[in-house]
Amino acid sequence: MSNPPDVVTGDTEAPDAAAQSAPSAPHDVHPAGARRTQHDLWLSGTEAPVDTGRFTDEGAQEMLLEEDAEVLAEQMGTLVADDYETSTGGPSDETQIINMGPQHPATHGVLRLQIELDGETIRRVKPIIGYLHTGMEKTAEALTFMQGPTNVTRMDYLSPLHNELVFSLATERLLGVDVPPRASAIRVMMTELNRVASHLLWSATTGLDIGALSMMIYGWRERELVLAFFEKTTGLRMNHNYIRPGGVAADLPDGWEDDIAGVASGVRAGLKDYETLLLGNPIFLERTKGVGVLTAEECLAFGVTGPMLRASGVDYDVRKAFPYSGIDQYDFEVPVTTNGDVYDRFIIRFEEIRQSLGIVEQVAETMPLGDYRTEDRKVTPPPRARIDQSMEALIHHFKIFTEGFRVPEGEVYEAVESARGELGIYMVSSGGAKPWRVHVRGPSFAHVQALPAMLTDSLIADTIATLASADPVMGDVDR
């Protein structure tokens, strides 16, 4: 492998070939015979001579002592609305810039915050991300549509099933494939259970962050019930690769109705405990009420979605606004509160757990019979039993898993409501078996960006509670 090709990115033919100008020869970065250095390999060949150097000086991502007015407004969280009473008065000359993270137990992953402190008050914040960047959008271009869910499920690792669902929905929209009702119902049930698991983990770790140590143990205990069901159904506790284009990977296991009933009653009982433990506790109230406030206006401008947006009084839920997988046939409420602080985010998420359990039970009652994946042989491999009898079935099976299936040209944006907010995917297909481009719009990415607006002019001790309430998953931020 001493001579890697220059263009190795999935399909090499751009979509809409008719629109292209005169096809040029492949860009030859390295003339024949020229010796490659290791550095050359990372140069993208045909870059026009754009001087990007001035943007990427050493330390460009870091907070500087002196910034111009616009950057200052961004870091002080006053771009949208200056709703902080204490922000009047100039800074004292005794400010210091400190680093929180990237290795910090309370940043929920490798997030780094640069914070300028004036005494104990935060004056400026700059979130610095990218420590978990693994180029998954580039990887997605090298995997077939069949392999895609294995990749995207690792992005937001606390709600893997939502990632798989949104990838599958986008692929199916491009393909024009309809999913059988049972597959849709299983998808809804599994993703709602995933929301429960994610919110449970969130309340556990956030409880820990603000000093409610026993919350940590209770939250993980109940989450374990859900994960045990996931393991029984999908074979894995996370990164399931269960929801795939065309349906789901396997039917529900025997006795799943009893498992669902057990999970629902277990989590409901736990939820009561949490509320007794937290919501009546004066220390908890003191640490959460009026902390980390985001106004509705700020949420909209920064692209904040999900429980954070609904805690600020905006009634937007993808499940209601753009229903997917037939979720609109189930009866559920979208909780909305108006204060937009950490306390309200607790209330919203606790209520969402209840609503999701309600959906799960409704699905379990009305689970349709039938196939758990589409009968369209273009995307679904033949049944295992046929492979032993028929040579054609064997070849078909082999082709689907090696070459994949071709997806018509086009581009779609598809979104689902993940545990954190709107999880969108922008998928471009060039007509081949691999996507031309996959962009995942992770909700956490927008939430990290809104941190300065939440943190500025609060106390350094509130950083932890505020950051935790945003529920950032760094796998989702950095991808």
């Binding site: 751009a14 292209q20 460009a60």
Partner: protein
């Protein structure tokens, strides 16, 4: 996907119609049941501003696509959302490969800040008037823009040092 579709009876709903009337050079079309609008990059900021006025006030997404041998080579995709009634608007902006610059929309929607930095980082598209255009996912000293289609996938040549295989 162009004028012909517009004249061919694409029914634009409220909100889209006003934008269509105000910006004659914006071309509306439909892609898999979703409303898409192609806007020249010169009018992007004014268009986004008008869209926010029309109720598309929730910033959803901004990303770039590299169509390598197509002209224009890049496409910047902005997704906006209107809450009541729930509607989506997708804005596509063509960006030529030899002049990859787009006016920044951070002045209208501050939420685009990180997304534009990401597109700059991974595609080398320069957003003019962006307050703080720097790399965001990759380290500062990174050379190149890896999501471009002509960026080689990471394979580092292994130099075997004159291994003596003869035996």
């Amino acid at each position: 996907m162009t004028d012909e579709m517009r004249e061919g009876g694409l029914e634009l709903g409220a909100g889209y119609r006003e934008l269509d009337a105000r910006f004659p050079d914006a071309v509306f079309s439909e892609s898999f049941g979703q409303v898409v609008c192609r806007v020249p990059r010169e009018t992007l900021v004014a268009f986004v501003d008008a869209a926010v006025e029309q109720g598309f006030s929730l910033f959803v997404d901004l990303c770039a696509v590299d169509y390598l041998r197509r002209d224009p080579r890049f496409e910047v995709v902005v997704s906006l959302l209107s809450l009541a009634p729930p509607r989506r608007l997708r804005i596509l902006v063509g960006v030529p490969g030899d002049d990859p610059t787009v006016p920044s929309i951070t002045g209208v929607l501050p939420g685009a800040n990180f997304y534009e930095r990401e597109a700059f980082d991974l595609f080398g598209i320069v957003f003019t008037d962006h307050p703080d255009l720097s790399r965001i996912l990759l380290p500062d000293e990174w050379v190149g823009h890896p999501l471009r289609k002509d960026a080689p996938m990471g394979s580092v040549p292994v130099q075997f040092k004159e291994a003596n295989t003869a035996s």
